[in-house]
Symmetry: none
Subunit: 543 residues, 2 copies
């Protein structure tokens, strides 16, 4: 079987994505997770460019990785400079990794215009740098920057640069589509030309500027390359690098090439979300295999079929990558999608029992009013529990008042007062906020935290408002979606009203109630039990 | 040259994406923009499944589209049902479009397990339905659902379904990769087999579940298909449909196949963002060609090179798709990169005049704060006029106060009081509303209508709220977009604040001011003149 190594460059090329700025401890955490996933190589950074990277390599030595080799990155020596005098190269050596990756120019235009040196000197730079590092006992990979564009401009010279790397002793020569404009049908002829001239193992490193990074990486595998460079979630400059979260499952499940174990593959979704979390980037919900919606079904026909045979509308089994099937409730849905409405936790209602019909009826009324339960599994589950009389609300609202005042100095001031009853106790609180919903949230938490200290763990992380029917201006119906999270999970809730404040209030209350429901509090033991039963057993009756 | 038709299904398959729920007026607006882009076909919906879609087709007849044909979608007749008794088919005919698309099953497994009919009856359903619609004079396309999976399971039967469609008289037979699991190297052999058996024009409709939708669509073009189905921004169920924002530029710029004019292509980025706004989906900043970061450069080496020769690190010229190069390092882009074509109206400011630099600087500050002028041309034009000292605000706000109260009976009550100065007159009004923004709007109109009776013509028609930075819960920055209209036109305005009420207020004031500005009122004659000049002539100086 063809042997393929996965070379991860999330920590180096991936961190070129706008908005990503990883600390050394972020990078160490990510490296450990990549090692668990089973990648062959982890490119940690460019020690010559960044003192943070030097510290990363120092501390990475103590990680005790089981699968991956840590790899340091640098350019070839500068033109006309001795190896011992090149600070980048010396920093690379000081990083102490067994494996190093050197990038050099393969496009004659770049050699002349960016490096401003001769074509021959560039070849010498490539060969000398690699030979020098090999003489120090390193495993050396050569990234042929702009190889494909270079080949199109001057095939002979581009191939010369690869030969120089091979003569220097490069263990793998990596063909880069640095600008990401390569079309998949250009790959086979170029690879054939490379294989005729260059006797070295080959790798592929492509970018996604034309939406072809996945296709190009895998077509290169079919042409015999043995190393794929990419990043988790496709992070990278501009449109990103080849996405390992798509490439690894395609290799294993579509091409039958094992690069990680099946157990490791089933950790991919979790890894993808973990790295998004550490990088502080909202997860791409629609990305193949690992996206939150990658196996989400909305259309009524699809839902009915997928409930009978998943393969009817799924190209792969979500379990294989640790993802889950989700059934979205929408105006297009019939009874079978209610019965299947699986949240992250698989709440199951049998489609033939009478309670399902009444839940469906209620959902339809609420959708007609403007509700939408897609992405609002918290509100959906609370609704089902309430209809089953299996849930008692946390508190009774006796009233609230919000005052928002814009004063002559331009300052805006939001204050909420709120009166609630918890059991037999009445609580009356007031709080300010940087906006009305924030003020309400603060006042409500102040009222409830004495009873439910776990509320401190629950945070609102996103808040969306949509006018549903755009015909009455500000008099139209408003839908608010709130996304919340605690230390375990995240969930959505929804509220609808002609009044944005009331809609926010409804979604806010659900978000706190659902968050508490999912924690191990004695107050919710009964409701929790019903919920677990619905989820775990696919209960056939709701009574 | 090979002729390719673009078939857009954003309004039907695209709206299967989680979170998208388009009103009829949203759909009409989108259809107009797609027509401007120059697509050949716009699939408007499934009249049999949804009353909203029936209304869309009724109103779409009045749009006066220049390039595109509107197309209605439905399934083949049901098993064992006469054409005249099939409600879906009759609803399709009632929609009155010249072009219809019929989907049917090409995978034997689906015929038996989902349709629960015989393989022969399925062939009859396909042929009969198409022949019937052809007899009514329609142009008919056949979507062969699951064709690729069906071909792999039972090639002969899958080809029979295509033949049945061709025999029925289908104008185009469309090969669907419904589950999105097709690998690009599987395409050529399958297409060869299809072309041997099926004498009809072919189309391709693929999904992106394995990250291959772009590659597969374009590889099919190389195999001779003549129609590509896809959606703007790749919206669609699960991982989405083939992304026309990637496919169209690849066709034009990489393959030399013209499907829209160069001018139309240069409107692609704007269209992509417009549709994201209408769908209330955050734009995918890293998508090829049209993403905000598609031509953003971060690495120091890249920036230096790209400033000298863009082709060093860009696979295509961002101007061709109406996008812009962005430099993320150090000080922002210089005056030379100015292009203020961010509004729907293309206000042109010459890059060498000093006012342009100060407008640019101000826009950048506002964008950094969270503003976005895409779809908010009213606010953009007012901003430019204010910076040119060509516009005097209508009134001065001296303060407002909003009280929102939820009483024990559950009733919600919103009251606004507002104090403004118009010229030397102070006006102090109060009004109720069904929500806080409505109350503010009512109080402000009450204060101003005596001075500007034309305000009665101006209506708010849509109101959208987005949290820009989802890390602080309700404490994050909020962007409000308001769409307004009068008897002549409609326009968007924007406001940003941590407080949803203040953001709404800013957008609300702009909406009324801009609405009045565009009417023939003597108060605004001067500002109006400047605006017209900027718009019509591409003025070279702002002084």
């Amino acid at each position: 079987m063809q042997r393929i190594d996965i070379y991860d460059t999330t920590l180096r090329d991936g961190s070129q994505r706008e908005g990503i700025s990883l600390s050394v401890s972020d990078k160490l955490q990510i490296a450990e997770k990549l090692d668990e996933l089973g990648v062959g190589y982890i490119e940690g950074g460019w020690p010559g460019s960044n003192p943070k990277d030097i510290e990363f390599f120092r501390r990475a030595k103590k990680l005790g990785l089981k699968n991956a080799r840590i790899c340091a990155f640098s350019s070839t020596r500068r033109p006309g400079v001795d190896m011992e005098d090149d600070l980048n190269i010396q920093a690379l050596i000081d990083s102490g990794t067994d494996t190093v990756t050197i990038f050099g120019k393969s496009w004659d235009f770049h050699v002349r215009d960016a490096l401003k040196t001769s074509l021959d000197e560039n070849l010498a730079m490539i060969k000398d740098t690699i030979a020098y590092l090999k003489s120090l006992g390193r495993e050396v990979f050569f990234d042929a920057e702009h190889f494909f564009d270079g080949y199109k401009a001057n095939p002979d010279y581009a191939l010369n640069t690869l030969e120089a790397a091979a003569e220097g002793g490069a263990d793998v020569v990596v063909l880069c589509d640095t600008n990401g404009g390569l079309m998949p049908w250009e790959m086979p002829a170029i690879l054939t030309a490379v294989k005729e001239r260059v006797k070295a193992s080959l790798g592929i490193h492509v970018h996604d500027d034309a939406g072809m990074a996945t296709a190009n990486s895998l077509l290169a595998v079919r042409e015999g390359i043995s190393q794929i460079h990419g990043t988790i979630n496709g992070y990278g400059e501009r449109c990103g690098n080849a996405n390992l979260c798509t490439i690894i499952p395609n290799l294993q499940l579509k091409m039958g090439i094992q690069v990680v174990t099946p157990e490791q593959l089933s950790g991919l979704t979790k890894l993808s979300r973990f790295i998004a979390e550490v990088a502080n980037i909202a997860p791409a919900d629609h990305q193949p295999y690992v996206g939150f919606n990658a196996f989400a079904h909305k259309g009524g026909i699809h839902v009915d079929a997928v409930s009978k045979k998943p393969e009817t509308y799924e190209h792969a089994d979500p379990d294989r990558v640790g993802n889950q099937r989700r059934i979205l409730v929408s105006e297009l849905a019939g009874r079978s999608s209610i019965s299947l409405k699986t949240t992250q936790n698989d709440l199951k209602l049998d489609k033939d029992c009478p309670e399902t019909a009444s839940v469906l009826q209620r959902i339809k009324e609420m959708e007609h009013y403007g509700y939408q339960f897609e992405g609002a599994e918290g509100s959906f589950e609370l609704l089902v529990l309430k209809m089953m009389k299996a849930y008692t609300p946390l508190f009774k609202l006796e009233g609230f008042r919000l005052i928002i005042e814009k004063r002559e100095n331009g300052q805006l001031y939001s204050e909420a007062t709120i009166k609630v009853r918890v059991g037999d106790k009445q609580v009356h609180t007031a709080a300010e906020g940087n906006g009305p919903v924030n003020a309400l949230d603060n006042a409500l938490r102040k009222a409830l935290e004495g009873f439910y200290p776990a509320l401190k763990k629950i945070k609102l992380i996103d808040f969306k408002v949509r006018v549903i029917d755009g015909v009455d201006g500000t008099g139209a119906q408003v839908r608010v979606l709130i996304q919340s999270s605690d230390d375990h999970k995240s969930w959505g809730t929804v509220g609808v009203s002609p009044n944005v404040i009331e809609a926010s209030w409804i979604a806010l209350v659900d978000s706190l109630e659902y968050g508490l429901l999912c924690r191990k509090l004695p107050e919710f033991a009964e409701a929790k039990k019903v919920l677990e039963k619905l989820k775990d057993e696919g209960v056939t009756s709701l009574s």
